[in-house]
Amino acid sequence: MPRRAATTTRNTSTNKITDRDFNIMRRILWASFLLAIAVQQSASAQTLRVALRQDLDTMDPTLSTTYVGRIVFAGLCDKLFDIDEKLNIVPQLATGSEWTDPKTLVIHLRQGVKFQDDEVMDAEAVKASLLRDMTLPGSYRKSELGLVDHIDVIDPATIRIALKAPSGAFLAQLTDRSGMILAPKVAAAAGKDFTQHPVCSGPFKFVERVPQDHVTLERFPGYWDNKAINFDRVVYQILVDSSVRLANLKAGTVDLSENIVPTDAAAVKADPRLRLVISDSLGYFGITANLDNGPQAKNPYGQNALVRQAFDLAIDRQALVNVVYNGMFAPTVQAVPSSSPFYDAALAVPARDVAKAKALLKQAGVSLPVKLELLAFNNPDVLQTAEVIQSMAAEAGFDVHIQSMEFASSLAASARGEFQAYLIGWSGRVDIDGNTYAFLHTGAAGNDGHYSNATVDKLLDEARGMTDLAQRKAAYAQMWPQLRQDLPITYLWIPTNIVGMSAKLTGFRPVPDGMIRLQGLALGK
């Protein structure tokens, strides 16, 4: 037993863990930590890294519904037409177009354009793509192209689209996903699986997508406007949290981030390595009133226009956007931004007038305080907006109760008429018709408040059927006084597109649709 005896002697002298043991443990921990931080990132100068606010849905333009999906498509799929900074419709895959009569549009196509699988982009391909949008089960483009009666190929570079009725808004549909032309063979073979390997004629071709993480595109050498492209790859990184998007921008791990929130704008401005680009967006934010959709419409706010006018006057829009959005959004009382040709400069935003609001409530003969349920989805800024409105309206005699709900639930509640007033926005469309018709016309799909006014319906229908811009503007100008009186939607502000980017990035074009156009973008040294 000598071995055990020796052991006993050594341990009875210490009987505890020694400092040496601790030192070893400490060194191991430090070594692990240093090893971890020694692993550094590497980035390719040829890669543009773009941060997106949310994950896209599908990579198929026919089946896609998300805004961020459109941003990725801007790199992947060219469209027949595009829009410029002033919302003019400009040709992209088309070279021009003309209305041969109010119901017939002839489009001339760019020649020498190839799809990313080397198929030729011609009139047959355009027809196939449009027909796919109109017929594929589950297509979200059906209603956008619902006016199309038939499509004729005149020659490989010319196509004729016959409409069922005249439409001044139709061309604008071709500036978005409906105008994206897919490679016909791939689209026909893949069907609904097109999303897994999308092929178009844009400057970059699809490489991979990891849902909730990133989409990678690679330069398409056969792109028709190849000289305008300065990157080999584009990686769209999904960064949902706004502070994380900002951190990535500041750390230089992304070159450009869309949707910088107003409260982060100052931090971007203050950083000399970064640049902030601000432009009008196409959408709006407002309060939709339930006027006739179920029992919840039976309240003073839903039944009496004077009450809605009083509510409108109780809100100080400028103060509201100052408090919630650092003053970066533009107060409004109409559905289009000031950059739109349909913007009505005569429609001034009224100053807050509590005394007049009280007088209107008195004239309406309602008992005070006027109780109102305000439905708001549970984004922090939307809830803050609701709280500011609640406080402002209280001074005029309203007792606003905020009903906070998760977004999808609030949409469903709105569709079922389970609201009195709903704080909701619209992402916006190029043509004013896309911002008004569906929400204001009797029986329209997005008219959750069931607003119905014969004059407004007539003007919306007339304006939709016209192709002359001046005539259309005149029709809409006639509509606004009625809408300001009825207030089915109390428009509050036009959001701005706030984009943060590396100061080295040049050639960015701030177009109101918020898309990131890769043509002309370059990263300097």
Binding site: M25, L29, D57, T58, T65, K192, E406
Partner: protein, 314 residues
């Protein structure tokens, strides 16, 4: 013991069936119309009706459930309504991410938590004990979201040592993969380390007061041998149980941490799926997670036997 394990394995199928009924039933209680969410800004009633028909949402709930379960039994977890990719493909993409993150977080938790618990118990009421307790308390009370943002600001933005977010698969570039996952793993491991530390300390204190420990010391064994071979081995049983539960929780997805660091794991996927009412993804992920959870508990049962041989005859 063999009989006990056999019974545990036999419980897996009814457990998963119960989970499938629960997850299917509970998500029906969620307000919101999936068709409306999927349609985005499209509100055309014809389009909405078409979506409902395509996704079987116009059928009765039992029919929808049986349709889904029938596919699951054939190895088909269905298609994501939103992304339009097979759920099994999405799970296969996310599972390695979650496994890697969970394994790293768990490793960090064990490397920090168990030794700290041992030291705190062995050096009871000393400065080391107080320090370990203070660190444990801090780990438990620090919100992951806050710690994640702070680490990003310090390590990535200020020091520029690590990328602030994103994920690179191990197979693609192991260095970059470690660089992107070390911070979220630390954030996750930190809170679990605190739990493990406190449980290890408590279990060790009990074990160190036992007669067999006194006997071992009296026999003249080295203190490390007494602590590790005798006290720790007995103290580890509750720690292993807890560790298995914590690992199970990690595998079900660390929602906030994945969100902050933009790690495309289970947590991020299931949150997106819930908000977008992508039922097949919710169902598929919950089912796979439940399976992993059950298997982990089974492994914990087996580990008891390894740690404590007396259980072999139980």
């Amino acid at each position: 013991m063999r009989g006990h394990l056999g019974a545990r394995i036999a419980q897996i199928i009814p457990t998963l069936l119960l989970v499938s009924v629960l997850v299917f039933g509970l998500q029906q209680l969620m307000p919101g119309d999936p068709a409306l969410v999927l349609a985005g800004e499209e509100r055309d009633p014809q389009v909405l009706a078409q979506i409902r028909a395509e996704l079987w949402l116009d059928r009765s709930l039992p029919v929808q459930y049986l349709h889904w379960m029938g596919n699951v039994l054939h190895g088909n977890l269905g298609y994501s309504w939103r992304i339009r990719e097979p759920v099994s493909q999405l799970v296969a993409e996310k599972l390695p991410v979650t496994l890697q993150l969970s394994a790293m977080a768990f490793l960090i938790a064990v490397v920090i938590g168990v030794p700290a618990g041992i030291v705190a118990a062995v050096k009871r009421n000393s400065a080391w004990d107080y320090l370990a307790n203070a660190i444990g308390l801090a780990g438990l009370s620090t919100p992951n979201f806050w710690l994640g943002i702070m680490l990003i600001l310090l390590v990535s933005v200020q020091l520029g040592w690590l990328p602030p977010s994103g994920y690179v698969p191990l197979a693609e570039d192991w260095r970059q993969s470690l660089a992107t996952t070390i911070m979220p793993a630390f954030v996750l491991g930190n809170s679990i380390a605190a739990i493990l530390m406190r449980h290890t300390r408590s279990a060790m204190l009990t074990a160190l007061d036992q007669d067999y420990v006194r006997t071992a010391r009296a026999k003249g064994l080295r203190e490390w041998g007494v602590v590790i071979r005798h006290a720790l081995r007995n103290a580890l049983i509750p720690v292993v149980t807890l560790g298995a539960l914590e690992l199970g929780t990690l595998l079900s997805g660390a929602v906030l941490t994945e969100q902050v660091f933009s790690i495309p794991g289970f947590g991020k996927m299931i949150v997106d799926a819930v908000f977008n009412r992508d039922y097949p993804v919710v169902q598929g992920v919950v089912l796979v997670t439940a399976f992993l959870y059950v298997v982990l508990n089974l492994i914990a049962d087996l580990l008891y036997v390894v740690i404590n041989p007396r259980l072999r005859d139980a």
